[in-house]
Symmetry: C2
Subunit: 254 residues, 2 copies
């Protein structure tokens, strides 16, 4: 079910048997009683084949037949927003220890055709290699973010906002590592940054920068299965990062 699907609380994540009639009935109820629904939508990014990907499903909603949609669900009355986002993520990907952060609420009156639904967008980053999609309902698929076809609801707008958020956030916070295997080469790291920021970076300066931050640990291992000289594999030292003295205050610039 996608974010805009009104489901009963016991519905399984891959329960797509809830007919459209039911959904519409529930939406009508909400609408007629002047009740605003709340959902979460997860923009789940992955990195594979040197490209940033996003996980989408086909909308079950008739108006958006054949359009792609984010993964989401209504928030249950007994769960926090964050919990709801983790639940959606878990139901869809089977992953639990995942980077997840709230990005923005979207609440325009016209965003859902059948009822008023405010959605809270979450951004999550997962390492595609460490993950097999288990539940393939609704044609769950990874999509390149650079070439996206039309999307359902205002999901394109949400995705764009999350992408911009990611571009900014990745530069000031080491989230990028969540998208890579635990051991990675500097080339992979640079590819990640280049793909997300859509820039070309100087290889030597990139290395210098990361080494000077002193957060990468040499594992002593080398890449395998590359058709050229293998690079060293590094791992990110989260502990060191936590302990690190936080950045200078005062970087006014606009």
């Amino acid at each position: 079910m996608n974010s805009e699907t009104i489901s009963n609380k016991n519905a399984l994540p891959n329960d797509t048997t809830v007919g459209q009639k039911d959904i519409k009935t529930i939406l009508k109820e909400l609408e007629s009683e002047g009740i605003i629904g709340i959902s979460v939508d997860c923009v789940i990014f992955g990195f594979d084949d040197n490209e940033l990907k996003v996980l989408l499903i086909k909308s079950d909603f008739q108006q958006y037949d054949n359009k792609w949609s984010l993964l989401g669900d209504l928030v249950n009355n007994h769960e926090d927003l964050d919990e709801a986002a983790y639940r959606v993520l878990h139901e869809r990907t089977g992953m639990e220890d995942v980077y997840l952060e709230q990005v923005k609420a979207f609440g325009e009156t016209g965003r859902h055709p059948a009822a008023r639904v405010v959605t809270i967008a979450y951004c999550s980053l997962i390492n595609i290699e460490h993950h097999q999609l288990k539940i393939l309902a609704n044609e769950l698929h990874w999509h390149r973010v650079t070439t996206l076809s039309e999307m359902a609801f205002d999901h394109r707008k949400i995705l764009d906002a999350c992408y911009v958020w990611l571009q900014k956030r990745i530069q000031e916070h080491p989230l990028g590592f969540s998208l890579l295997p635990r051991k990675f080469s500097l080339r992979e790291l640079q590819n990640l940054y280049e793909a997300i920021l859509d820039v070309k970076l100087d290889r030597r300066n990139f290395r210098k920068k990361f080494f000077s931050m002193d957060l990468l640990e040499d594992t002593g291992e080398l890449e395998t299965d590359v058709p050229h000289r293998p690079g060293k594999l590094y791992r990110f030292n989260y502990e060191k990062y936590q302990k690190k003295e936080r950045k200078k205050w005062f970087g006014i610039d606009f």
Copy 2:
């Protein structure tokens, strides 16, 4: 009414006659029907007397008797989230052209004692000099952000989040000017930054920085009523700012 007060849609902003019984009844209805309420809360910052201030009212909620609370209200079914925030702001301050930005949604299950209410926090910045508080219901007052007494609900947490957001945002976006009169001296500008960031800055370097951005216009006027040599008054050139080539991409640092 504060953000957590459940009001009927036609209630006037200064209508504090809605009794607590009514509110509780409505909350109980929401609660018993498993409906999640949605509100907006505005963290309205002002700058006066070289200090950052925030606009608060006394909570009408019995549990939080005598505690301070943010300005907010339930979102009407027919209005966007942003509209709701502007409405609250307008109702409270009479101002319309104001800096307003969404910061974060707060939706923990236990945040409201009587019902489940998800709130979307907005940050707004107003120039205290250009504004007279018109509606003084609920002891509407400016408070120093550095010395805050206990607050109702999770409003302290919301305020803190907005303050951190402001500290960060003010360094990369020229919001600070919304807190100052249209014509200001560099001293006032520096005081603003020092107060918000809670740092001491070098006066010469501060000037150099702002002049090098080339966004301040000399008005030709001087300060008046200062007990010392008057400084020049500047105004911020928003047009130039809009046209300005946006900052370099790639500033990885964490």
